[in-house]
Structure formats: C-alpha cells, structure tokens
C-alpha cells in the first residue's frame, strides 16, 4: 500500500491547485456589504454547498462584491476567485467572464484572449476531470448570472 503517492497524484494536484487551496484557506472579499444593491443565497442541498453573493453596482460597474459561505474547497475557492475577478469590472465584462468560465468547464476550446480574461480562474480547469464536482465549481457563477441578468 503506497499512500505516499497522494501528493504525487497529478489529477488531484490539478484539481486542488495551489491557487485553489489558497483561495479555499483564505477566501477574499468575504466581509458583507453594508448596503448591497443585489444579493442572492444559493445552495446545493445535495452536498450542502452554500454561497451568499452581494453586489454593489454603479453605472454598470461592480463597485463592491462580497462572497461568503460554507462548503467544499471547490465551491468556496470558486466563489472567492469570482469575487476577486469581478470587483471593479463592468457588467458586460462580467457576463463575458461567466460565459468563458462555463465554456472552460464544458471542455470547449478557449482562446488565449479568453484565458487572459479569466485570469486565475483558469485554475478551476482541473475540476473537469471530476465531473460530479463541476456543479460545485459553477455554483457561484450560476448565481452571479442570475443576479446580473435579472434586472
């Protein structure tokens, strides 16, 4: 029995990349907004992932964002990556980012420009090898899409 192979597992390391683990251990933008313009709680009752997303929007720009919750490393780090990425972005850009993230998780080809656009979020790529976990990775993004597109 060779358990020392664990940290040598490429897939695992691919999924739990340093960036992911960093965002999981130290999630960004978690303090709640005092006067959010938009707010949504989402959860996945099957595995218990929960996220609360709050936004301040001014002149089509995200001027404030808070993401907090509890759940697995993937859902929580994905939420933190999300918060980091959309802060100060225009809503158009955000819609664009959401689209690219979905594309990436569906394993569709994405261009270098797209990769530039999503930045660190590329770290979520590794989750594709674990189909049941894709839901976790997308939990926050689906919620964000609902929030942004609704009004």
């Amino acid at each position: 029995m060779n358990m020392s192979g664990l940290s040598g597992s490429d897939d695992l390391n691919g999924m739990y990349e340093d960036i992911i683990l960093d965002h999981y251990r130290n999630p960004r933008n978690t303090s709640s907004l005092s006067k959010p313009d938009l707010e949504l709680d989402v959860n996945n009752p099957f595995c218990g992932d929960e996220l609360k997303i709050q936004l301040n929007i001014k002149d089509d720009t995200i001027t404030g964002v808070s993401v907090s919750g509890q759940g697995c490393a993937i859902s929580q780090s994905s939420g933190s990556l999300l918060a980091e990425r959309i802060q100060d972005s225009s809503t158009d850009t955000v819609i664009h980012v959401i689209e690219k993230v979905r594309k990436m998780m569906k394993d569709e080809p994405i261009s270098d420009d797209d990769l530039d656009l999503i930045g660190d979020i590329e770290a979520l790529q590794g989750v594709k090898k674990f189909p049941v976990r894709i839901k976790c990775a997308l939990l926050g993004w689906s919620a964000l899409e609902d929030l942004i597109k609704k009004p």
Binding site: M3, G5, M15, P45, C47, G71
Partner: protein, 406 residues
Amino acid sequence: MQFDVEEIRKDFPILNRKVNGKDLVYLDNAATSQKPKEVIDSIRDYYMNHNANVHRGVHLLSVEATDAYENARIQISDLINCPNSNSIIWTRNATESLNLVASSWALDNLTKESNIIITNAEHHSNLVTWQQVSEKTGCDLRYLNISDGFDLSDFENLIDEKTKLVAVTHMSNVLGYVVPIEEIVPLARKYDARVLVDGAQSVPHMPVDVLALDIDFLVFSAHKMLGPTGIGVLYAKLDLLEDMNPYMFGGDMILEVTYEDAKWNRLPYKFEAGTPNISGAISTGVAANYLMKIGMENVWEHENSITKYALEKFRELNNFNVIGDNVTQRRGGVISFTHNKIHPHDIGTILDKQGIAIRTGHHCAMPLIRSYGVVAAARASFYIYNTLQEVDQLVEALQDAEDFMV
C-alpha cells in the same frame, strides 16, 4: 461454515478492479453492495437458457422461469423466517414496498384522529412517505428521538391508543445504530398499533426473524444484500395483505376481467401487476442463499469486528468526528463522520484517488444530518468482503487527506 474473508473476496469479481490505478476498496455498502459471481451468473444463465414470461405459459421455458421465480420467493421466506411465501411481495425496492404499504394500507386505515410514530433517524423513504400519508389523511406524525439510542420511556410517552403504525428503521444508514425491535413490538401490541420495520440496512447484515420479532410489515431491497438492482421485498402478515387493496392494476394481478369490472387474483399476485422482474427475483433468491450459506450470524460478527476496529482507529484521529459515536448500544457496519475543516466532498474525492469508495452527502437522511449541525457527512460502510487492512487503508488515506488539504 467457517468465515474466511479471503475466500469470500474471491467470489466478488469487482474486487479485482483497479480504480485510478489502485485496488478498489469498496466502502459504500450502505448505498449498494457488490455482487458475488453466482448472483451475476444466475442472471446470465436465466437470459441464456430459460428466459420467458412467467405464469400462464404452457411451454417449457415459461415453466422453468415460473418455477425459478417462485422458488426465489421461498428462498427469501427462508432468509427472514417467514412461514408462508405468499407473504412475500416482489417490489422494485424498499422504497416501493413502503409506498405500497402507505397507499394500500395506511390511506385506508388512518384518519385525522390517528397518529404514526417514526424515528428522527429515518431514511427519506421511510419519512417522506409518512409525511404524505399525514398530509392526505390529516393524521399526526410523531418522531421518536433515537440520536442517543432507543429509550423505552420516550417511546411510552409517545405512543397512545390513537397510534396505528410504528414505522422504524431497523438499522440507521447514518448512525449504524440497531433499533431494538423486540422492545417496540410488545408495546405496540398493547396499543394495537402495527409495526413496520425498514430492514433495508438490517436484512443484509444480520439475522432478521419476522416470526420471532412478530413484525407486521418488513421492507428491504435486494441490491443492498448482494442481489441485483430493481427488485425489493415487502413482507406482511397474510391477514393484512388479504384485507389490503391492490397497489397497481394490470396483468397478472387479476383473476377475471369484464368490460365492467375486475376480480383480483390471490396472494401474492394481487400485488404484482404486470410482468415482474423475473431475473431480478431469481438472482435475489441466489443472493439470499449465498448469505444463508455463510450464516447471518457470521455476517454480523464479521462486520462487527471490523466496525469496532474502525471506531477505535477513528478515535485516534484528530479533527475527525464520528456521528452518533455517543451511542454504545448495538451498532452495525456504518460509520458516518465529518472533519472539523475539510468538507466531506473533498474527502470523498481525495479518497477516490486512492481507490477508496466512500459516500458523502446527506445519505437521504437530511433532517438527521442537519440535527448534528452539518449539511453533509462522509460515510464508510462495511460488508462481508471488507477487511481490517482496508480499514487501515481508509484511516491512512484520511490522515493523508488532512495533510494535503489543511
């Protein structure tokens, strides 16, 4: 028969499977069990040599299929010491057996005056089903808390003249705790309440004697006891079944049909509408036989020794908490646990990379899981082919997971 786990393992072809390059360590037995070769072979043999629709056929294949199908009913009777195989109804799974009782018995026998007692540790199948009966009849649904084990005086306080049904899990699929049915039945009799036992987790793992326990209804699924998917069992006392209306309507369950009316067939066929899961029943009989050959006492002993060993190991781990570890009464081979920091989902994925299959989530017992202040838990559950060495692998992998994630 001498219980030799290494001999038993040879009967289970899937144990040779590699998962992510590692030997499969299958610890998800409470969800479904693996199948011995003779069960798999019996399905193949049925379709290669005997396949035909049952009953009503005069040709040889149909006679063979019918004989095998009915023989399986007798094997199941033997497994649970049921005196008359007409008491054995084939269903799709334990869930359907429960729905059958709810629909064909409870809806006709309960009113808004009545109440049903279940425990706080029921699988959704034995919970939502009665919530629905309660909604439809207006009857009261009462919960007996067994998080700290069964307490007879709690039960005494809950039951009364209006209790028509006590529907309890025999063994919790989260806590592993075995409810003492022998303490429940006498009190239920006193109040003239019927007792339904959810044996989904008990029948596969320990001796269950419907006659000695004097159970009114027993439900279980084949797929958790070495049998195939798509078939389950309802045992009920004959007089109850006689009085109950059919659950579904169609072929086989009728005796005579006119354009105006229909007469129901005799037991057990009254409850088996349409072409049944013939290969499923036959191979379930084979599974029951396999278990009886080993001896249900031996099955229980083996799993018990593994569970005891695993619980000790868990207590040595930091940051891991076993759910329901406070209950020291009889418990079966199920260990649900959480980690102070790591989410069960991450634990599950990391263990899977080591070839170790455990389950994570709410285990179809959401309100119970939530009562422990969590929304999900990891669960390792054992069966006849699991070994102490596999427990060691599990515990080491958990340790490694912690090192990796925290």
